[in-house]
């Protein structure tokens, strides 16, 4: 107490700290130096050659030039919304004028993609099928993959499973109650959109996506055990491949008849009724099944690694 030097030493840092001068600054400097060191190490390891240095500026310049070129080309295109643009040619005219007579669908887009251009849609359904196959190859947990895993990975997996079981037991009450009320309506709306694809906006793609989203909601709210009761891997395989094969069987008749003609032998019925427009209704249902299964398959493969 009596030693003034000691007293000063004791007091100075405190005063300096209160005034916000030295004490803090040194610590900050040390922290900054540490950060710099860490950053430098990362920089050296990542940007190890000259390519990375010039990559970003060159990218920005090239992109800007590219976009400027694209916008410059837009000057030459016909203006927006005019009647006699070259895109509105005789093909569109034929689809609109003779679409109802040829296909029997009042929704011209549905008539187009499922009758005039049905091969296009078949190819696209195959793309979805192939994508889900690829995701199954990448993410599905089967016996072979379990053998390959190391001890550490097994432990992590077991921990994750335990957490999921806990989550299953204590599901969010609000989500559970709300989805219990909403989910049937979502599924019903999806089915409505699929079945009315040829007489109103919608069709297999949007309806199937809505059904898939409804199934995802149910699975998220009530746990995957509830959806597994009616939707397991066997059902998934049967529905997807069955729907794809039936689509192909219905639409490849023009392969066998050997021409581009549209006659199917199925009566078109009264335009505007649900049972009308020949093959478009079953084709819509098949596409809807494929899309719904694919969407739900993506979800369950991504979250659990199995369907």
């Amino acid at each position: 107490m009596s030693d003034p030097k000691n007293h000063e030493n004791h007091k100075n840092p405190f005063v300096a700290w209160v005034n916000g001068e030295t004490f803090r600054k040194e610590e900050e400097k040390k922290a900054a130096e540490k950060k710099k060191k860490v950053k430098k190490e990362v920089d050296i390891s990542v940007h190890h050659d000259r390519f990375h240095k010039i990559y970003k500026p060159v990218c920005v310049v090239l992109c800007c030039a590219f976009i400027a070129l694209l916008i410059f080309v837009c000057i030459k295109t016909p203006p927006f919304g005019i009647t006699d643009a070259p895109t509105n040619n005789e093909v569109a005219q034929k689809y609109i004028e003779e679409g109802l007579e040829d296909t029997g669908a009042t929704n011209i887009v549905a008539g187009m993609i499922l009758d005039y251009r049905a091969f296009d849609t078949l190819g696209e359904s195959s793309v979805l099928f192939t994508a889900v196959m690829a995701v199954i190859i990448l993410l599905k947990k089967d016996e072979d993959r379990k053998k390959e895993m190391t001890e550490k990975q097994k432990q992590i997996e077991a921990r994750q499973q335990k957490e999921e079981e806990l989550n299953d037991r204590h599901r969010d009450v609000i989500l559970k109650k709300t989805s219990g009320i909403i989910a049937p309506f979502i599924l019903m709306f999806g089915i409505y959109v699929v079945l009315n694809g040829h007489i109103s906006p919608g069709g297999g793609f949007s309806g199937g996506a809505i059904i898939g989203a409804g199934l995802i909601l149910i699975s998220q709210a009530f746990g995957s055990k509830q959806t597994k009761k009616f939707f397991n891997f066997k059902v998934f395989t049967i529905i997807t491949s069955g729907a794809l094969l039936s689509y192909a069987a219905l639409k490849t008749y023009s392969f066998y008849t050997g021409s581009h003609h549209m006659e199917t032998g199925v009566p078109h019925g009264i335009p505007g009724a649900i049972l009308s427009s020949g093959f478009i209704l079953p084709l819509n249902i098949f596409v809807g099944l494929i899309v719904a299964c694919t969407m739900f398959g993506f979800y369950s493969l991504f979250s659990k690694g199995e369907i």
Binding site: S45, V46, H48, H52, K56, C59, V60, C63, C64, F66, I67, L70, I71, C74, I75, T77, P79, F80, G81, I82, T83, A85, T87, N88, A92, Q93, Y95, I96, E97, G99, L100, T106, N107, I108, V109, M112, I113, R117, T121, E124, V127, L128, A131, V132, A134, V135, L138, L139, S200, P201, G203, F205, A209, P271, V291, T294, M295, F298, L301, F302
Partner: protein, 135 residues
């Protein structure tokens, strides 16, 4: 000004394409790359769909009036093309995300540079091991 009034959809879709392209090229994060790819997709769809629009006409769905004339409806072809495109883009995104998940499982990072570096190191380690075995 006239140019802008006639082509604003095209300009917007080109800018969106550029933004998505920049995101795809400049970001190291793989999820950001997937987002950039999605934005590029939708930009192309916007460009395609606005080509078929004609001012003052309605969607090609017949209501009570079943006698179709070309002067009533917009062009249905771009809508059909884009409809197939949207669903293909979601499958492409799903495949991309599955690959990202597998990469993260192996390398524990989303940074593409780090992944490449780790893969390179792994390769060198393997090579060294083989050489030592040969010796």
């Amino acid at each position: 000004m006239d140019f802008f009034l006639n082509h604003f959809y095209e300009i917007a879709s080109m800018i969106l394409f550029g933004v998505g392209f920049m995101g795809l090229l400049l970001h190291n994060n793989l999820i950001k790359k997937a987002v950039g790819l999605n934005i590029m997709d939708t930009a192309i769809y916007l460009f395609l769909a606005q080509r078929g629009f004609i001012t003052g006409r309605v969607a090609p769905i017949m209501g009570s009036n079943l006698e179709a004339s070309v002067e009533e409806y917009v062009n249905p072809i771009p809508a059909g093309l884009v409809l197939t495109g949207i669903v293909v883009s979601v499958s492409v995104t799903a495949f991309f995300l599955a690959l990202i998940q597998m990469l993260h499982k192996k390398y524990h990072t989303l940074n593409l540079d780090e992944i490449l570096l780790k893969a390179k190191q792994e390769k060198e380690k393997k090579k060294a091991l083989e050489e030592s075995e040969d010796a």
